[in-house]
């Protein structure tokens, strides 16, 4: 039995397998299928300052080896999270990280301050792919100066582990990674969904109510892997990698490219037991290759 534990900015994860925000609910829907305690951690669904109804139907379009979504951060707001959800998830035997979103810097700060008070939440993950309403809807995560600012403002109030999740919809992912590290991020997560669209030719209309939406699933894996590799070479903080991971082999690719942990997203929809199977698969790989600890795989890609 190999040592699967990883240390991410002082937090111990019993293994590098976690679940991606927005694809795992608050965990409770998965208790029919798996023992959540077997996972390294879970990243729960985005929390915003106030209730959001999300976008209109249709919110989903299946595409080749992937799917587009335009859920639009539907959630009941941070008050509801602290009062109703937190008590139900605080004793999960795994690291529970909260994904924080907003449309203004103030909203991110407000949510982060509230989550900071929750004893059993050791970290937050800022979702900076959201549009900044004050700046004409341009996503925080696409302009380095805005990414630095929102990270810094949250850093000022948030005392635990601060992770920032990067959007891949940029020309230079390393510039964004450096920008959030400058702002005080302890960890970077990448990637969020890639902006895409689908068209129904019979009706000559977009499939999604929002016209464009976020692409996820195996279709985006090569892009995600490339970005993890580039960011691994560019910054000195731990990376949590994701994008299209469907099995243990995919997960190991991300570790080799430089991720200290991985998240399983869309794959949860198809096989709700996949995250635990990936833990077992990584263990089997380590045993087969006679590697004692999973940390030996991190960034171990041979390029010469």
């Amino acid at each position: 039995m190999a040592d699967l534990s990883v240390n991410i900015s002082g937090l111990t994860f019993k293994n590098p397998v976690t679940t991606a925000s927005g694809t795992f609910g608050y965990g409770d829907e998965f208790t029919d299928f798996i023992d959540i305690g077997r996972l390294g951690g879970i990243f729960v669904k985005a929390v915003t300052g106030r209730n959001r109804d999300g976008n209109a139907y249709p919110r989903m379009a299946e595409t080749a080896s992937g799917m587009l979504n335009s859920v639009g951060l539907q959630n009941k707001g941070v008050d509801h999270f602290c009062r109703e959800i937190y008590p139900k998830i605080k004793d999960f035997n795994t690291q529970v990280i909260v994904n924080v979103s907003g449309s203004t810097v103030e909203e991110y700060v407000e949510v982060a301050e509230r989550i900071n008070e929750l004893e059993n939440i050791p970290g937050i993950e800022l979702n900076i792919s959201c549009p900044n309403v004050k700046l004409g809807g341009m996503a925080f995560g696409t302009v380095p100066s805005m990414a630095t600012e929102v990270t810094r403002e949250v850093r000022n109030v948030y005392k635990k582990v601060l992770m920032v999740k990067l959007s891949p919809n940029v020309t230079s992912i390393t510039d964004l990674a450096k920008a959030v590290v400058d702002g005080g991020a302890d960890v970077v997560t990448l990637i969020n969904t890639l902006l895409g669209m689908a068209i129904d030719v019979e009706r000559r209309r977009p499939v999604l109510s929002t016209i464009t939406g976020g692409l996820s699933g195996p279709a985006i894996k090569p892009v995600a892997l490339r970005m993890v590799w580039q960011v691994h070479k560019a910054v000195n903080v731990p990376i949590i990698g994701l994008g299209g991971i469907m099995n243990a082999t995919d997960a190991i690719e991300f570790l080799l490219a430089g991720a200290s942990a991985i998240q399983v997203g869309t794959a949860n929809f198809i096989d709700p037991q996949i995250s635990v199977k990936i833990v077992d698969g990584i263990d089997a790989y380590l045993n087969k290759h006679k590697i004692n600890k999973v940390t030996d795989l991190i960034g171990a890609l041979r390029t010469e």
Binding site: F24, Y57, R59, M60, E62, N69, Q74, P218, F269, P272
Partner: protein, 259 residues
């Protein structure tokens, strides 16, 4: 008996081609079937093509606890259902079930079931279930044409069946909602259960309101997960955006934001 959702490899033990567009799969569970309620559905994995990446949802058509089998009634639409139509006895199929809520148990014996197209799928199971409650419903089912009229003997075991076809080749001509049963001044029903295309369900809902009859409909929606985590399948209700795969697929029309 288990109440939990399962992901299992089911074995195809029966395949019936009803007509060129519809077929019924009988699937054998490897363990004792969980408790399944009428209106619940299954998410079926279609392997072997990048364009059938997500599972496909199908209503549970019938349940046989003594043989440990369920049946699905499937209409061929696209790549996924075409692939399922090629399955053979002995093949296995990865299925997540039972999902969603169910039709409520009626407090009256005056029950009407209305189904159109592949929307008839959950109604056979529902009529079996009502039969066990000593209720014999009236069942109006609509098909395109005579060739597609199927399983009438099965429905007739549990209820009084009325058929419509779009082209009038069998039963009354027209859509389900055009059937003479709906043209009466007073409809002799206290509960309607309905499943089919949206336009049809909306018409039935209007009729039900007009006649002050309690009515439940089973909605379809684009689903990614089918068990409540992705929030892709929402429908606006009196409680905000609710998930068709968890709070539904069955909704009382009073709760929906339908005009």
């Amino acid at each position: 008996m288990q109440f939990n959702k399962q992901v299992q490899e089911l074995k195809v033990t029966g395949y019936t081609r009803l007509n060129p567009r519809h077929f019924v799969l009988e699937l054998l569970a490897p363990e004792k079937l969980p408790v399944i309620l009428p209106g619940q559905f299954a998410q079926v994995l279609v392997e072997g093509s990048p364009s059938t990446f997500l599972r496909r949802p199908f209503s549970i058509h019938t349940v046989d606890y003594s043989r440990n089998t369920i049946r699905l009634l499937i209409q061929i639409k696209g790549e996924g259902t075409r692939h399922l139509a090629r399955l053979k006895e002995g093949d296995s199929l990865n299925v997540m079930y039972p999902l969603g809520n169910s039709f409520s148990i009626p407090t009256t014996k005056e029950v009407l079931l209305v189904g159109g197209g592949c929307g008839v799928a959950p109604l056979l199971f529902l009529s079996q279930f009502l039969h066990q409650q000593q209720i014999r419903p009236s069942i109006v089912v609509g098909f395109r044409t005579r060739e597609e009229v199927s399983e009438i003997e099965e429905y007739s075991r549990y209820g009084d069946v009325f058929v419509t076809t779009d082209d009038g080749t069998e039963g009354e001509k027209g859509l389900v909602v055009d059937h003479s049963i709906f043209q009466k001044e007073r409809l002799p029903f206290a509960k309607i259960y309905c499943c089919g295309p949206d336009a049809m369900m909306k018409t039935v809902a209007r009729l039900a309101r007009m006649h002050r009859i309690d009515c439940e409909v089973s909605l379809e929606n684009t689903m990614a997960c089918g068990f409540g985590v992705c929030l892709c399948c929402i429908t606006p209700t009196d409680k905000g955006n609710e998930r068709v795969c968890v709070e539904g697929p069955v909704f009382n029309i009073n709760r929906l934001k339908w005009q």
